[in-house]
Symmetry: D2
Subunit: 358 residues, 4 copies
């Protein structure tokens, strides 16, 4: 297959362009997807800005919806033409980490095989989803058929945003009746808010400064919202909880301020579930950490992937539990992806997520 396809390529910092690449060859354990819909992630903007380094000419993107174009020789249980998604994180299934249940921290099948973020390959260590075609490695571990009746856009958040946001709620160790605060209501924070509701939290407090995002948080499950530009969020949350603090706090941005606010509103024994991608050392304030004696937990989560995770998330949507459709605020064709990057990188026009039809 020497035919060409269009793809969004990283050229250098501040430059991702729509270029051409050969359609990939399909190895025995791979599958080739014809991408039908994809999106741009905040992480892609880190790449665009040169804050997260990838190789020149790499195809960006890790959120594919598509149809199976071709299956590798060893891949069984699927049919060409089938509609599928694959998670942003593509575990091999056969690393030491995978066999230990730690699928996101996958690594090569060598002596040890533990590597931070090793499961994140699309648009990171191999070509990604912002293209006409996508090669999915370890296809049997990663291809998840889309249930009939769900549209591309309904499942477009499953590969990353929904999986990550929900992971934040899952790692927060929520019990029925808990009070949970979620700091930052971008797409991941909004999914964490929806996830907290789905786990049984009964007082959900969403924090942001953008009124539209706070309104969306209420729509997705928040019981109360705090605009941190209008009020001190720590004081507001301590007042809302009558001084008790929250059982769990979810950090969904990646800044010292949000991380610190989480600790400051956390009850003794509570859990800080961190989703943000940080870009600097963090400080743990002594008092908020109870000098190390508060029986607290700080937990970080990388987006879970693999076909079973995708199956479950699509069940959530098929079951009518959560509707993430409203997160898609803008639509583009792959041809227009540079404009989409421009809009999304600059967070113009109230954008939450863009859908890219490929």
């Amino acid at each position: 297959m020497s035919a060409k396809m269009k793809a969004a390529l990283f050229i250098e910092p501040n430059r991702i362009v729509l270029g051409e690449k050969p359609i990939p060859e399909v190895g025995p354990n791979d599958a080739l997807l014809k991408v039908t819909t994809t999106t741009i992630c905040g992480t892609d903007i880190h790449i665009l800005k040169g804050e997260y380094p990838v190789e020149k000419n790499l195809t960006i993107g890790h959120e594919p919806v598509g149809t199976i174009e071709k299956l590798g020789r060893n891949v069984v249980g699927y049919a060409e033409g089938q509609r599928v998604i694959a998670g942003a994180i593509c575990p091999s299934g056969h690393s030491y980490a995978c066999l230990d249940g730690l699928h996101s921290q996958d690594g090569p099948g060598t002596a040890h095989g533990l590597k931070p973020m090793g499961g994140w390959r699309f648009g990171n260590t191999i070509d990604g989803a912002q293209a006409e075609y996508l090669l999915v490695p370890d296809a049997m571990a990663n291809l998840a058929p889309v249930p009939d009746g769900l549209t591309d856009e309904q499942v477009l958040m499953c590969p990353d945003i929904m999986s990550t946001g929900f992971a934040g709620a899952e790692a927060a160790n929520i019990k029925i009746g808990d009070t949970v605060a979620i700091f930052a209501q971008g797409p991941i924070g909004l999914c964490a808010t929806a996830g907290a509701r789905l786990r049984g939290a009964t007082t959900i407090i969403a924090v942001d400064s953008v009124p539209e995002r706070l309104a969306m948080a209420e729509r997705l499950g928040a019981d109360a919202v705090v605009n941190f530009k209008e009020t001190d969020p720590v004081e507001a949350i301590m007042a809302l909880t009558q001084g008790r603090g929250v059982d769990s706090a979810i950090e969904a941005l990646g800044l010292q301020s949000t991380f610190e606010h989480c600790l400051k509103v956390l009850k003794p024994g509570g859990t800080l579930s961190s989703l943000g991608v940080y870009s600097a050392d963090l400080t743990i304030p002594l008092a908020a950490f109870h000098a190390g004696l508060g029986d607290n937990k700080i937990v970080t989560s990388l987006c879970p992937g693999g076909k079973e995770r995708m199956r479950r998330l699509m069940n959530v949507i098929a079951g009518g539990r959560v509707d993430l459709g409203p997160l898609v605020t803008h639509h583009y064709d792959l041809e227009q992806i540079e404009a989409a990057y421009d809009l999304f990188a600059n967070q113009r026009d109230g954008v939450l997520k863009v859908a890219i039809a490929a």
Copy 2:
């Protein structure tokens, strides 16, 4: 490769013979092992007796120690000639069950892919380890290098007996300071006894009727032993615990009597961890079950496999924590495997486990 090899073949109930088979061809994700040492499991005796059906001419055995003879084209991270083991359970890594962390209940990579015991393939659904050569499927998920300095016999229990027995202790939810009773001290029960010690149980009570097995239980970690032919084990254990009962009870035989004894000595809130392979319906006595109101758990475990599990178990041995060498009471060559079956099936001569040099 049309060369032949020797292999223990199931012919019909009560007849396993040493026959010949072609040396297997190696597919892209497989590895071929030259078996150096293997053993016979109680499960193989169920097969021999026709109690567990397998296909005619299947090679029996699921406990291989060997060297890599040939690697499939896609298999990286290993070298031919390397000493390895593979677990009795060979997870594919890519099924829905594996991606859910449930590696033993693997199944085909189809729509659902959950199948009881699906991960058990050697000597069950594919040819097994009692042969000169063994084909290991999904080799990158299953080949576990043997650390230098460990002999074949030191690691021979890892693939099944040790993994199963330890799983019984792990599933028993043992906390430091717990009291645990283990019913039956065959090889699996003995490993459960060692495992309970390794998890922090501080009063370990081993039950059997064979003095040599009870002595071995004490050697592997039991604090007290109960010979159920000499004393009522329920009364004895309630006396040993001053009427409190045990925090966890481990069933390691597969009979109504041992299952029932477990329930009868279990405290409210306690866990029954069941390892036995049952051959008839079980009865739960109403009173011992506190009419369903005792906050009790009954948990069953199938032997965990995969290279990460094997790596950990070999660490236990390399670290000097447990020495299972004494479980090997008899030695045979593969040529003599019919005699080994005869001895083991009839439990003659105080046999615990046999080592078969291939």
Copy 3:
């Protein structure tokens, strides 16, 4: 205080009458409640029928809503006149079981102090809630203030039905995206259905034979209902899950048939969460138990109590997550409690729960 109060007294099997008793004296750690609303539980019917023995003249009932009439000398943090509930299970807080986090299996503060159902005292080992006044022992562990704005009937299910049903969902180890079947849709099964929804199950299948109960199940969160009089429930559920089985099955009745159906629809690795009060030995069918090799769990739960549990459950209601008001189908005064027993014991007139104004 030698004044008298009215109370529903157990006289002998099939005879609970409204009689008189002295208003209890208040010990230093006790509180006396003026009961305002209570109800009758299925367990009370077991007592009525003589199936569960209690002492003659015991006041029955374990589901109190009331106001604090008098506080014991050591009880701080409450005010007389305050509206409170107390759980059906009244942990002491100071037993070995409580200090181990196992509050329902409380027992006397002696050497061992583990006793099945030891935390269930009201209407079992001490006088209960179907009376004008109720003495609450270990008041500081058990009195839970009712949030402003919630009516008696809104919180009337918290002490038992809701706590029990939710515990069934909690013990079922539900993950986001799970499929859960709940067998029997009486009040506890209905609460388990609501609880499964609250924990993130996305395919919830409710089984019963009474159309009104199945309709209520759908109202409380079931995605599909199965009338076992019209269709084989095992076949129906295996079809609904495309042969996969359910991740968890909740038993909410206490019969062999429902227990067995749970096992038969359970996937390998799945959990059977049992809430029923059984009255006979149970049989575990060999095949449905995968001969002990299915990595399955059977978990039983007794209603969790204590003021923290009550606080959380009232949060669920205050947060608008679940409305159990429709479960109250009939209303009586304490004077009419014998009629209420007659209706409830005979399950006439579509009764789900009765409210008794005291």
Copy 4:
């Protein structure tokens, strides 16, 4: 009781003196102990130095072994003259935190009742154990009878050091076969080392700079020791683990350097279990934290208390699992406690722990 007793009193920073106080009166839920043996904790030195503020004239100390002198009117299940210990942390049993299983973060029985370190009362908010007599509040939750045959010194570490160190190992989420590093081998770090061994870690690496402490670590279970004055501990541990890192790292000192070393040797997915009492803000280095994407956990633990915890710890000793006797390097009478403080505060003469006979 207006009789007087001797007690170690905090007067002002750098001044703890042996003074006199009235023997306490016994409330209905209390018990009065005749202290027979106690000890000095590192925390007491923080108090001595004025780093942790307590009220003037407070009796210091939180590690009592004694006999019951007098029981409160409501206290049942004990006998005067009985030998008991009580944990450093004295949960009430009846707070919201206790009823949520979070016994160390106890608080007053009011609306919310969550307070960091609320369960630590002895020598903090009420008079402590370095005295002839000690009043134990909530006696039924806290008095733990000493098994026959154990000496005072054998159980002297249970109330604090052993409970804390073991908690560090328990919170580290150790699985059989894990590699664990423990930073600092003072009394708590040594107990964490013993605890890691008891939970099934098979490669235990102890870090300190004092050869005697490293030798003691090996005696208590370490497989390898690293003297951080002789070698870079991060490099040494990465070499010992062939670049894999450790599954869990335990911080047992309370400094930035040890906290940071823990993160730097932790594998992706690993747990940092922190026991240290910090005295300044902490920094989380970005790279060691994998920018928040490493699926890591940071967990802090306060010493668990209560009679059930004490019962379990004494079982560990009675069962011969761990011998902490060698930690007691020096002996004093209560009369000499000022000299004991002087030795311990200045860490002279290789002191690990002192025993104070009262």
